[in-house]
Subunit: 297 residues, 2 copies
């Protein structure tokens, strides 16, 4: 049982949600999405990804999105970067926080990053040395790889230890393909706490197989500091509606508040944001349930 705890929710919908939706939002709507998240009490929003526009066309307006969002107290504008070119663009665009990606499986690393795991580690070390911005790393495929299957837990923790040795101040375990279960979450989060107690612990869950919220609870019980979520649970694969999105911010907040875990978010505002986003994405049902079922009581 968890009480009197606080967990930061990082809104990743403008990046991880939108890059996996079949429908694109206008730049103005992306900015509005992030502004609505800040207004609902979110302290950090992953506003975009500075990757090559040919790789992820939905993020081609990264500079414009960043330019549309003023900085300030309680408004951490985070961006995903996977190499030094992206980092330079992100820094030039004036973001506040960077999140790089290290893939825990070799095959997915080659396909996603066009680099080996070892090469990515070198690139991350270079990026970290090149900036003073807060710099977190997400370990993708921490729970499984679509090509290699199970990813050995010891290897994931070894990568986390190497990242900590580079001075990375926040490490996130991402269940990229939504296959994780709570016991593994517990072991990874507790394992990181044991190996690198000063590193902030973060996790990223997809609800592809309906394990995402149970995984989030396990992470909280194991001492997570931050959880990623996307308003509406968007990010589903276009040909399987509702099947593969991030965990929904509103449903996560409902769950955590119900358990006495504070998030700083205004649940009614997040639910309103989910309804707004559903309209912007064409009106089809979104995976988040709370905008349908209603807050309670």
């Amino acid at each position: 049982m968890v009480t009197e705890r606080t967990v930061e929710i990082v809104e990743v919908g403008p990046r991880d949600g939108l890059q996996n939706e079949s429908r694109e939002l206008s730049t103005a709507d992306k900015v509005a999405y992030a502004e609505r998240a800040f207004a609902a009490g979110t302290g950090r929003v992953e506003i975009t990804s500075f990757v090559h526009p040919k790789a992820v066309p939905a993020m081609a307006d990264a500079e414009q999105v960043a330019a549309g969002l003023a900085g300030g107290e309680g408004r951490i504008r985070s961006a995903l970067v996977i190499n030094q070119r992206g980092l330079e663009r992100a820094v030039a665009a004036g973001v506040d926080d960077l999140n790089a990606v290290l893939v825990a499986s070799e095959t997915f690393s080659q396909r996603n990053q066009r680099m080996s795991v070892a090469e990515t580690m070198v690139e991350i070390a270079r990026m970290k040395a090149a900036t003073d911005l807060p710099f977190s790393v997400t370990i993708a495929c921490s729970f499984g790889c679509p090509f290699e299957g199970h990813v050995p837990e010891a290897g994931v923790l070894e990568l986390a230890t190497e990242l900590a040795a580079l001075g990375i101040s926040e490490i996130s375990f991402a269940d990229t393909i939504g296959v994780g279960t709570p016991d593994r979450v517990t072991r990874l989060v507790a394992g990181l706490a044991e190996r690198a107690p000063d590193v902030r612990r973060r996790a990223h869950f997809h609800n592809t197989r309906n394990t995402g919220y149970a995984n989030a609870v396990a992470a909280v019980e194991a001492g997570i500091h931050a959880l990623d979520a996307a308003t509406g649970g968007i990010g589903g694969c276009p040909f399987a509606p509702g099947a593969t999105g991030n965990i929904a911010t509103e449903d996560l907040v409902y769950l955590l508040h119900g358990m006495g875990v504070a998030t700083g978010l205004d649940l009614d505002a997040v639910v309103a944001n989910a309804a707004w986003l559903q309209g912007k994405l064409g009106g089809d049902p979104i995976p988040g349930q709370l905008s349908r079922a209603g807050n309670w009581p």
Copy 2:
């Protein structure tokens, strides 16, 4: 972390799932649904409800469903009954196991059962005395009532204690409207274990607000013996597709097996059953995710 444990999954789709679907199955398909669940390794299926056909038209063929299902080793044909008339019908139909309902909130009790909570307790005592069949009681609205809001936990545990004193051998906490969160699950299940350690502990979750699977994990960790689930997660309200069904058998099995909790079910067979059921219900997406996302690895 839970290891080396076994949890019984009671398939309640033919009863709680189908009674809340807009599309009705034929009697033959209801029988096929239960047969498929047994064939997948389910030991107990809630095959129907012996209630007045005017109250629940979808269960008007209760006798015919029961007649279509042979008994035998590893095939517990359970039925829901809410009064003595129903119990007489269920016994005459030859079912193996009975499940009665006590509602934890007065308003919902009057509307659902047309009896007060105290009157229902008397009726349950009479029913229990009138049969030698295994007799469980589900405490509906154990987590919240659509009319009264929060239902005090102490009251729910008091009702459970009264039921145990009547000799009820299995008590289930039902989150009828899908508002529960894991900490409350923990307290109810542990509270029952403390007050009546010899009573089998069972729980029933709806995924209305995406808390159902996290609640199931909390129940397992608190020492639950049996969890209800419906193949496909069916039972959603017709005007909010996918929003309010039972937790899906296939997704629950994936979650529990991933945690090293045995269920005796063949996951691939359950996934095939979910796909079959989706077809029988008209082909629209069902809430269970595994039949879309696939078993893994």
